[in-house]
């Protein structure tokens, strides 16, 4: 495992730094906005925020092409935005609108955008490993130079699919990259309670897979580590494991009482390591205060526009609930679609009209 530290900021680096900062600011603004609207009752379901971890999403995706694939987690807003999904499509989805990127059927935990190679957030911890192994295998089968990146948390590394898929990618030398966001907690449990090792990266040795450990608060460091990994994967060099040491600055989910850690712990980390503050510092003599402020105001405008778009969008038609699990034209006479239509006709007389934004009670 090579420790990778970030390189100095020259001209080209500066451009890169601004790009990384812009992405991180957009993610931060998006998620602070999600938090506000969730608490206001505009967003049903669960939402998990990645505030504090933005450098990983930004530094990773800056290395990827649109036709490269990523798989994300329940904490996927940053990955999704960084891979190129529009805020409008995301916010409309979170607001459960028909114009959402998943037509309102997915929500925060199941957001995906195949137009930019985003194979989905996943409500199942470690659900992404197989998808990425498969996307990487697919690139080999189709003889392309695409790569696939899996984002996952420290907790996910204790699940079997982590083990099976990393070994499979290593032994088949697949163009996959495993980006661990080690934020030191899996919900209420700290990594110290769930594994005896300090660095998860050591597990990569068990697969004969090269690995790196980077400062996950430093977008440049993440960018450089992923740059090397992507280069290796694209050129047929096989998979890489990158452990990003980071921290979750918010609760596990919005509303988490956080009994498992002290408020001061969070403050200490963020006051010293907030990836956005860091990058602003690094770029301090490259950008003016106005430049910085512009990044923030542009992001706020983008988010406000996305919220307006979502608010002005309709809820899905109720009878959409009965379609979409199977492919094909719903009127193609395929028995499965005839069955769907029969169930729609049975249920619709009882389907309640529910105001957008209200949460289905389940009763």
């Amino acid at each position: 495992m090579a420790k990778i530290l970030s390189a100095p900021v020259d001209g080209a680096r500066r451009e890169l730094g601004v790009a990384l900062l812009r992405t991180m600011v957009r993610v931060r603004v998006l998620e602070e906005g999600i938090e506000k609207h969730f608490l206001a009752g505009d967003i049903p379901g669960f939402a998990h925020l990645s505030i504090g971890q933005e450098a990983v999403a930004a530094g990773t995706c800056a290395n990827l092409r649109t036709d490269d694939a990523i798989a994300s987690t329940h904490r996927g807003h940053g990955h999704t935005l960084a891979k190129g999904t529009s805020m409008r499509g995301m916010v409309a989805e979170l607001f459960a609108r028909a114009t959402g990127i998943c037509k309102g059927k997915g929500g925060s935990m199941h957001i995906a955008d195949f137009s930019v190679g985003m194979l989905g957030a996943n409500g199942v911890v470690a659900g992404g490993f197989g998808l990425v192994a498969g996307a990487a295998l697919s690139a080999v089968q189709r003889k392309t130079d695409q790569v696939a990146v899996c984002f996952f948390g420290d907790g996910a590394t204790n699940r079997g699919p982590f083990h099976e898929n990393l070994n499979l990618c290593a032994v088949w030398n697949l163009p996959a990259i495993f980006v661990l966001e080690n934020n030191q907690y899996a919900s209420t449990t700290s990594t110290a309670e769930t594994m005896k090792i300090k660095d998860v990266a050591i597990r990569a040795d068990g697969y004969g897979m090269p690995s790196a450990i980077v400062d996950g608060f430093d977008a440049f460091a993440v960018y450089d580590a992923l740059g090397a990994a992507v280069e290796r994967a694209r050129s047929g060099g096989g998979p890489t494991f990158v452990e990003c040491k980071t921290y979750r600055a918010r609760g596990h989910y919005i509303g988490d009482p956080e009994r498992y850690r002290r408020k001061t712990e969070v403050e200490d980390v963020m006051s010293s390591s907030d990836p956005i503050v860091r990058m602003q510092g690094t770029l301090a003599d490259a950008l003016s205060p106005e430049d910085f402020e512009r990044l923030w105001s542009e992001a706020r405008e983008e988010f406000a526009d996305a919220v307006a778009f979502a608010r002005s969008s309709p809820s899905p038609q109720r009878d959409e609930a009965f379609f979409g699990a199977y492919t094909g034209d719903r009127t193609d006479g395929n028995p499965v679609h005839e069955f769907e239509a029969r169930e729609r006709d049975e249920f619709m007389p009882f389907a309640p009209e529910i105001g957008a934004g209200s949460q289905g009670s389940g009763h």
């Binding site: 049903p44 379901g45 669960f46 459960a96 609108r97 998943c102 309102g104 059927k105 997915g106 929500g107 935990m109 199941h110 996943n122 409500g123 199942v124 911890v125 470690a126 659900g127 907790g155 996910a156 204790n158 699940r159 079997g160 899996a186 919900s187 209420t188 449990t189 309670e193 769930t194 594994m195 009994r259 498992y260 809820s315 899905p316 109720r318 009878d319 959409e320 609930a321 009965f322 379609f323 979409g324 699990a325 069955f339 769907e340 169930e343 729609r344 249920f347 619709m348 007389p349 009882f350 389907a351 309640p352 009209e353 529910i354 957008a356 949460q359 289905g360 009670s361 389940g362 009763h363």
Partner: protein
């Protein structure tokens, strides 16, 4: 004597009483000890019984169920919390190929007194991967017991029975029921016998066979039907396996018209077993077809307006009953 308890507190009492009663009972699961469970259903347990008997675990469902089986084979009564029933899929081999089969294939040398707690069901836009009702798979899996409480009384009595059972028992607790309040007997030895259904009300115009969260919906439907002069029996199965076929047959013989309702997907669901068994064994008692209600054959969608459209609630149950009784099919 009985007290009013929430469903959540009823399960908590069951855990407390069984853990006091039997030192080999222990509990493990993700995020249960330090924070007390998503629904507060584990609050105070580690404080009373220690963090050795109430264990927060790594995210390793296969290991939790596998280790549950191993502990059950060697003198303990583990209770394993699955966090969400949907994650049973991460430990299916351990449950289906180990827990369910070991006693039989080892010639009854061993017992597997493991309880698996699985919060399930549709609520609050949890989405496709956090909303399933999977009990139907397990009635089809010989070697397992399956219980589904409908109210706080069931919650306490069935959980205690599950923990005391020497067979591996799946306990499906609907997430929407945890805050619900109800009367619970005041006896710390109270258990609900496995394999016995409960008649919630006893009208003769029709029979609604149901269980779990749908029992409340059926009771609401029954009230709506009273206005139409229709008096129905609501049978709460409580246990899905072994299924109380005798109670079903008795109720069919009284009512002659049957609706089977649950939140699980209708196709291939528990209702199919119940309805086909009635058709086979109570054919001459039937005045009309046995109607089945269950969730539509789709994953559970996120948007509230979609989620609320695709599973049966009181109005749909009442309508089916009305049509059946009035022969307007």
């Amino acid at each position: 004597m009985a007290r009013t308890l929430s469903f959540s507190d009823a399960t908590l009492e069951a855990m407390q009483e069984e853990m006091r009663r039997d030192a080999t009972v222990f509990l493990m699961g993700e995020d249960i000890a330090k924070q007390g469970g998503i629904f507060g259903q584990f609050k105070g347990l580690p404080q009373e019984f220690g963090f050795d008997r109430v264990r927060d675990t790594p995210i390793s469902e296969a290991a939790l169920v596998g280790a549950g089986v191993g502990a059950a084979l060697t003198g303990c009564r583990p209770v394993v919390d699955m966090h969400f029933a949907d994650f049973i899929t991460c430990s299916m081999d351990e449950l289906v190929n180990q827990a369910a089969k070991l006693r039989y294939m080892f010639g009854e040398q061993c017992v597997v007194p493991m309880t698996l707690r699985a919060p399930d069901g549709i609520t609050k836009s949890a989405g496709s991967q956090h909303s399933q009702a999977l009990e139907s798979w397990f009635m089809h899996t010989p070697g397992l017991e399956v219980v589904v409480p409908a109210d706080p009384e069931d919650a306490k009595g069935l959980l205690k029975a599950a923990i005391r059972s020497d067979n591996p028992t799946l306990y499906f607790e609907h997430k929407a029921l945890f805050p619900q309040k109800g009367a619970v007997p005041d006896d710390d030895d109270f258990v609900v016998p496995l394999g016995k259904a409960k008649t919630m009300r006893g009208g003769n115009d029709a029979l609604i066979v149901t269980y779990g969260v749908t029992v409340g919906r059926a009771m609401d439907a029954a009230k709506q039907l009273e206005a139409d002069g229709i008096d129905v029996t609501v049978l709460n199965m409580r246990t899905i396996w072994p299924l109380d076929y005798d109670a079903i047959a008795d109720a069919v013989a009284r009512t002659h018209r049957v609706i089977v309702a649950h939140e699980a997907v209708r196709v291939g669901g528990v209702g199919a077993e119940i309805a086909s068994w009635i058709g086979e064994h109570c054919f001459d008692d039937l005045d009309g077809p046995v109607l089945r209600l269950g969730a539509a054959h789709v994953p559970v969608p996120f948007a509230p307006v979609l989620q609320e459209a695709m599973y049966p609630k009181a109005p749909m149950i009442a309508d089916a009953t009305r049509r059946l009784v009035r022969r307007e099919l």
